[in-house]
């Protein structure tokens, strides 16, 4: 029965990775850049909720909403100030800028909140679910995380498939010039992508800090890198790929921690990535359409 417990924990952790991976994969698909500051937006989301709910005593729901709004605006601001001027620059310049933004956010949090670890009070008030005569306990955080991930995936998929803005995103991701000839405002579309990705990062931050209740300025960086791995694993640019990559990564991590060694877990996760990329360089769902000329 413990196996089921580990599996469920893995799916829950993987759901958080998947939500973060969405931000990486959408931004990569549309702006063709790796936003390495994405993980730190998670940390900002966590600190906003911490300040609102633990320090100021606001209701959890309200704190989460404020956090989503702030992270959304933060993501759009980062794009506008740091990345937009580099739209035609080499990808290396953009990558280095992204790393710079990442350090900037971490150090800003360091100045404001200090380096000590903050105890984050979970915002989830759902009661744990005990099944199979108490052999399996599913925490409220786990339930909320998995549900949130499923809802986000469904809404996002519908948004992209069914709305004009979503179709514009797909058009921009394929061919910016042709999208512009359709009347799509490419800059606005990129900005919208950052807004969505960062809003999701806020949600991921809250879920992560609720499940693992410690918070410091570097909280976002490791989950950020893992989620990036998840995105590559599933096929960067692909939304279902982010989901599958995230969940698989979470499950592999959880099972290796439980059965092999908790120190080795990360090494195992990254080894699996390397093997997958050796066999399928585009990731699990990454597609390479051969165009007819």
């Amino acid at each position: 029965m413990s196996f089921l417990n580990y599996l469920i924990n893995g799916i829950s952790l993987g759901s958080v990775y998947a939500i973060i991976a969405l931000g990486y994969t959408m931004v990569y698909g549309i702006a063709k850049m790796l936003n390495f500051a994405h993980g730190d937006v998670i940390m900002v989301g966590g600190f906003v909720v911490f300040t609102m709910s633990t320090r100021m005593g606001l209701s959890p729901v309200l704190s989460v909403l404020v956090s989503i709004v702030i992270c959304t605006l933060l993501g759009m601001t980062i794009e506008r100030i740091a990345y937009k001027p580099l739209r035609n620059a080499t990808s290396l310049a953009v990558l280095i800028t992204a790393i710079g933004v990442s350090y900037f956010l971490q150090n800003l949090a360091l100045i404001i909140f200090g380096s000590d670890i903050k105890l984050f009070t979970s915002v989830v008030k759902v009661k744990p679910l005990v099944i199979a005569d108490g052999q399996i306990t599913i925490t409220g955080e786990t339930i909320v995380t998995i549900l949130a991930c499923m809802i986000i995936m469904t809404v996002l998929t519908l948004f992209i498939k069914k709305t004009k803005a979503g179709q514009a995103m797909l058009a921009v991701s394929e061919d910016k010039g042709a999208a512009e000839l359709m009347g799509v405002n490419v800059n606005a579309t990129i900005s919208l992508t950052f807004a969505i990705g960062s809003g999701l990062a806020a949600i991921a931050g809250v879920l992560l800090c609720s499940a693992y209740p410690s918070l410091n300025p570097y909280t976002g960086s490791m989950p950020g890198i893992k989620a990036f791995v998840a995105a590559v694993f599933g096929g960067i640019g692909s939304i279902p790929g982010a989901l599958i990559g995230g969940i698989l990564l979470g499950v592999i991590e959880s099972l290796s921690k439980s059965y092999i060694s908790s120190q080795m877990a990360d090494a195992i996760v990254f080894s699996v990535l390397i093997i997958v990329l050796l066999v399928k360089p585009t990731g699990l769902l990454g597609k390479k359409i051969s165009e007819k000329v």
Binding site: K164, Q167, A168, L170, A171, E174, D175, G177, A178, A179, E180, L181, M182, G183, V184, N185, V186, K287, I289, S290, E291, K292, V293
Partner: protein, 236 residues
């Protein structure tokens, strides 16, 4: 007043002067051809007109409005549509999704279905394949899709860049018939072609472009009988 008026247009790529002061106009209802060899600057001119490229100097007026500095995505809303070189359909979207994106600048939902019907009437093959990914279409079908997509925005002026490129002779014939139909339905056409013979045969007027300059212009029929044009572009 001409529908499209390009004056002293200059476009540079870095230090290279691609277009060195080109002027031409397109009147409402006309079919105008820009002909010239590879690298003469035909595509660059179209990109500058539709707003995809920044102009170094000169002005572009569309229906009396100065659009020199207006970005491409806004020019579409004013009634100009551009079928780019190499079709550039959205390969990973279906035919129908591509066509709907063509109508991105239109607000009316009922109108969308009507326009779709019209486009399907001109290109029945697109209706048969509406749920197929655009990347799986043949080159000729992709061109039909690119043209259909451009028509979805109800353009007053349509720019076409090398529609005949890479197509079989039978298909070229079909495409030029469709261009004639588009023109007959009241849309003004600015056509860029390497296939000078075909282009001149359907054009009202034409301009001959050589390394960034217009060297000759006039009535398409007259140009077709011009000795230098015959020699350089018609292979006679």
């Amino acid at each position: 007043m001409a529908m499209l008026e390009v004056k002293d247009l200059e476009v540079n790529y870095g230090v290279i002067k691609a277009i060195k002061g080109v002027s031409f106009e397109v009147n409402e209802g006309e079919v105008i051809s820009l002909i010239g060899a590879n690298g003469a600057g035909k595509t660059t001119i179209l990109h500058a007109v539709s707003g995809l490229l920044n102009k170094t100097a000169g002005t572009v007026m569309f229906e009396g409005k100065d659009i020199t500095k207006i970005p491409a995505h806004k020019i579409v809303y004013m009634g100009m549509s551009h079928v780019p070189e190499g079709r550039r359909v959205f390969a990973q979207l279906t035919v129908l999704e591509n066509l709907k994106l063509g109508a991105y600048s239109r607000k009316d939902k009922n109108e969308l279905n009507e326009t779709l019907e019209k486009v399907y009437k001109s290109f029945p093959r697109l209706e048969e394949r509406k749920n197929q990914l655009a990347g799986t279409l043949s080159g000729g079908e992709q061109l039909m899709l690119a043209m259909g997509r451009a028509l979805m925005s109800h353009p007053k002026l349509i720019l076409m860049d090398e529609p005949s490129m890479g197509l079989s002779p039978i298909f070229v014939e079909e495409i030029f018939n469709i261009i004639k139909e588009i023109s007959a339905s009241g849309t003004t056409v600015l056509l860029v072609e390497q296939n000078a013979k075909k282009a001149l045969s359907i054009a009202d007027r034409a301009y001959v472009l050589e390394t960034g300059n217009i060297t000759l212009s006039g009535d398409a029929k007259t140009l077709m009988n011009d000795e230098s044009v015959k020699k350089a572009y018609l292979g006679e």
